[in-house]
Symmetry: D2
Subunit: 338 residues, 4 copies
């Protein structure tokens, strides 16, 4: 960390700052120049709050040279993290397709669709039991019953399941879930992240709707700091001024995360766009940008459902898409871009 | 709600939609025009999921005419909600100043500052015990001990206290807190909102960093739908592309909320700007725009603290500001803008 | 266009509105319901200003059913526009690579690089002569001399040239340019767009940094309304809160534009990300999402230049990338996604 | 400017960088630390392109200590700029109300409204002659004729006029205009800014819809670098994700600009919100935040116009508002906030 002082800093305040830093086992290297005095801080500066230093009267600016995350940092862990769930691996050059309905509605629904998805190449079943809904008057999911139905579908197909937790209290219900998902709205629910850091199972963290890359990685760091290193990142679109799509899918997140972290990254084009017809258009782009996987909303039998989710594709669309994504993934593996 | 159908909608699907709506006690009025067929839905359409209807093949667009919130809606509750806490009232033409340090650090700190603030015109004491921090390595607040120190400061000064809850599990600790604050990052922690709906005390909901006005009101609606109508809204800046200030303070939120809801609205210029010198510049603007109150970070004795919060003003600045804000509020009350 | 009236609209104002619409050759179909009266407007509503109607006292809301653009609208022109420049075609299933340095610096520079690019598969040469720079103290480009050097490079290689115009006054200098580029900052320089509508050569319109899809298409419509239908759209990143990349590349723009318009769409990953190392990562994603072309910054001999543009790739990187992008494009053409 | 080098920078590249800087009359002070080498650049660094240095292989980061603007910088010009137009002064503690219709429609309209506004306390007449419209099919303003009508209204009332220029070619028509306005869409039309730098009359620059404070000031710097120091800044809302208001009015811009620059700042609540009813609510907030003036859309006789601009207030609303704003301004002058 580099601290740029204002011209002619107050000597008492400067000594006080240096003493405070040294107390925290940071060694301070001072360079006095004609226009500015600069402090170079050496040591474990991840624990130092840059904003607090920047607020001091004598400080012009503070510049982090080290990233504030350690466990998630690729610099200290160059090999990609590969997460194993059942027979499936996420990360390390594979392409994982997670698919399923927005909400679990009934045993028949989830079992039928799970079988179709398995046959089409999905290796992880997704489905919502606890649903974060903007309105208290909207359907809130089947809850614990929904989790049971997911487990039945898993038993019938062998597909591991990923589903969203909304609250620490629900943790006991998730004991037998394969991957616990943290939704975008809970990305900075720090108590939940800490609790998940004590679990011994993969956690998939969706990027908050207006989270920076660094904030997203810091949420991963919360889980990892607790001891759980099985973290998957999921980009699901960020909020911008454009309203044609529900959010703006940020595919640059893939190569950026690849450089900053060793954790796998999965893309959710369904929530990002909110439009089913865009999903098969953008999924290949995510694969071409190097995604480790995709998570897709698929709903069966929409003809007889009045309420087909606007962002859900049909199983037959998934089947075609899955085949093509795997073929594209194979082509790219054989022709690496760099 | 108005549903605009595509040209020549499939008759079976249309009948199915109408039947589904009627099942939900919505009466449907169909207008067949030369270019478009339009359905007018009459009844309690707040419970209808517009996105789901918009996703149907036969539907061109859906237009809400009614807002999706009821309890928070000014149309159904024209008088402003006034919330009483101790001797203080929030809303209904008063100007409430909530002030205190970002974090509670010690008994001496919080008691000293509480006394100064009370003398300067603050009527509610704020202070963080549980702190949401981006980094797991940053100070996370004193927790339960911090709550106890706040209560000591209340006992010494008579000032009611407002402090942030981060998790449902903490609710028992908040039994004796006067106003429970929901932070921006938890604005859509729906389980927490539901639990707060069962409490019998005021809840102050900070606007999420990228929450729309409607989403913010829907979070209030979550609390109110549970039976707790004592909700205060707090604008604390939204995330934009501008990085000079930490966030962009949206003062239009004041008159907009005044029109949409009867709930009081409080402004937090400290978190919005992240810069102490901007607080006394923007606080008067908030009062002039009609805010019911302000929540301000004030830290005492920053000279001997190495780490003065960048956004905290000093007690003497608060004292001057408080006097001027009350004087401005009095002037505006005597010269109403409209 | 559908106009939703408030309850019990003033009859005089309503008659006045209907008369005004009929004067503009719009026929009005009125549906009186129990809760709302709705007007369906039939005719050339693209010429009607929806905002003005929405502002009337008697109007609750206005809903466009038709898009406000005609010439650019795919509904009225289902076949993709293919633009021919020299031997090259843009649109209609081809993949066009436009490449070259940010600024033209010297004859040797531009001729050398043009030759390298041609050999590597670029079919259009880009290069800035007039440079829009945020600071008046930054290099503003070689101007007219830069255009001449581009023409020399074209003569030497046969590559058509694309370069940016900043001002109507420069039009005579662009008489011999192959494609005129409108920069993001000029996307709503309407007088410039009108002047370009009178030219008989392709115009490439970059999306403004905070332009919606519709605003971007309306800028194309300005050129087309003047009679020039040779318009290319170029996505170059939009401004969001994320600052790691210079802008956020919006690849959903490709399938969205494909649906809304028949015009070709080109992606600029260099300006979008501002980082050279991200360009080869995101270019394949653009191809996989269906882009008609890419425009890439390439700078030769950066070792001896102190100032290598941060977003410029080297010619040898371009050569490898070009080969792979064409190979990917071929693969995707053989395995269409839908 | 401070350049933070990567660890173990290539010595040849480092020497090359230092030589290049010294060529530009920048003296370089090198501090070698255990972890990082830092270069402090002393001299006229405003002319150095920080992005270009940041792009070098050996550079970790570049930190500007000096702002890139000089003429607009308050550090070098501590006294506020006061601009005189006729009998009116803008800046330096006054409150200037600029008012008038969105578009000039007829002599009768503009003269009538100008008389009403003058009587109500406006001191500058605004009105659009050349109108930037998103659609080529919308009314584009009366053009040169509109300018003539504005001059007639000026002759009748003595009110100086401010109106928008869209293009350099229009400059001769603006010879007799009192203040030339640069619209938000043209804020980075650098050729236009340069041309205005050669004029001897005030220029009011609206902030671009997604312009940072620094970009806005750099646009002012373009005009000032040409020799014209009579620049007024106008905040008119920035584009965010919130769509209830047309844009988000950023009132923090007032104190921020006050600190960064000596130029006067004017607020446009009409365009910022797009809703007439919000204008009287936010105008006092702008005054309380220290604005030097307001620019307001006022339209007379909206009852007989089918198309009242959604953001225009009526003359009688303006009259009441004007009185109250002046009274508030007087109160604040008598009770300075700091």
């Amino acid at each position: 960390m580099i601290v740029i002082l204002k011209q002619n800093p107050n000597a008492v305040q400067l000594d006080s700052l240096i003493a405070w830093l040294e107390e925290k086992h940071i060694s301070v290297q001072k360079s006095v120049g004609t226009s500015h005095t600069i402090l170079g801080l050496v040591g474990d500066t991840a624990a130092i709050d840059a904003d607090l230093i920047a607020a001091l009267d004598i400080v012009e600016d503070v510049k982090r040279v080290q990233e504030p995350y350690k466990h998630a940092n690729r610099k200290f862990h160059p090999d990609p993290t590969v997460i194993s769930v059942g027979d499936t691996q996420i990360g390390g050059g594979t392409l994982t397709l997670m698919a399923g309905p927005c909400s679990v509605e009934s045993e028949e629904q989830i079992v039928t669709i799970a079988k179709q998805l398995k046959e089409s190449g999905a290796t992880i079943l997704r489905g919502g039991a606890f649903k974060p809904r903007t309105s208290p008057y909207s359907f809130q999911g089947l809850g614990a019953e929904g989790l049971e139905l997911l487990k039945i579908a898993r038993a019938e197909t062998g597909l591991p399941i990923v589903t969203e937790i909304m609250n620490i209290d629900q943790l006991p219900l998730f004991a037998d879930v394969d991957i616990i998902q943290v939704g975008a709205r809970n990305m900075q629910n720090f108590d939940l992240l800490k609790a998940l850091g004590k679990q011994d199972k993969p956690v998939m963290i969706k990027r908050g709707m207006c989270a920076t890359y660094e904030e997203w990685l810091m949420s991963a760091e919360y889980v990892m700091a607790g001891g759980n290193h099985q973290v998957i990142l999921c980009e699901r679109g960020i909020r911008t001024y454009e309203t044609y799509t529900r959010n703006t899918l940020d595919l640059a997140a893939i190569p950026v995360m690849r450089r900053l972290t060793h954790l796998p990254i999965v893309i959710d084009p369904s929530h990002a766009t909110g439009k089913a017809w865009l999903v098969p258009q953008l999924a290949p782009a995510a694969v071409a940008a190097g995604a480790d996987g995709l998570i897709l909303e698929v709903h069966n039998d929409p003809e007889h459902a009045v309420c087909d989710g606007p962002q859900s594709i049909r199983p037959e669309v998934f089947a075609t898409l899955s085949e093509k994504l795997h073929s594209l993934h194979g082509f790219l593996a054989a022709h690496p871009m760099q």
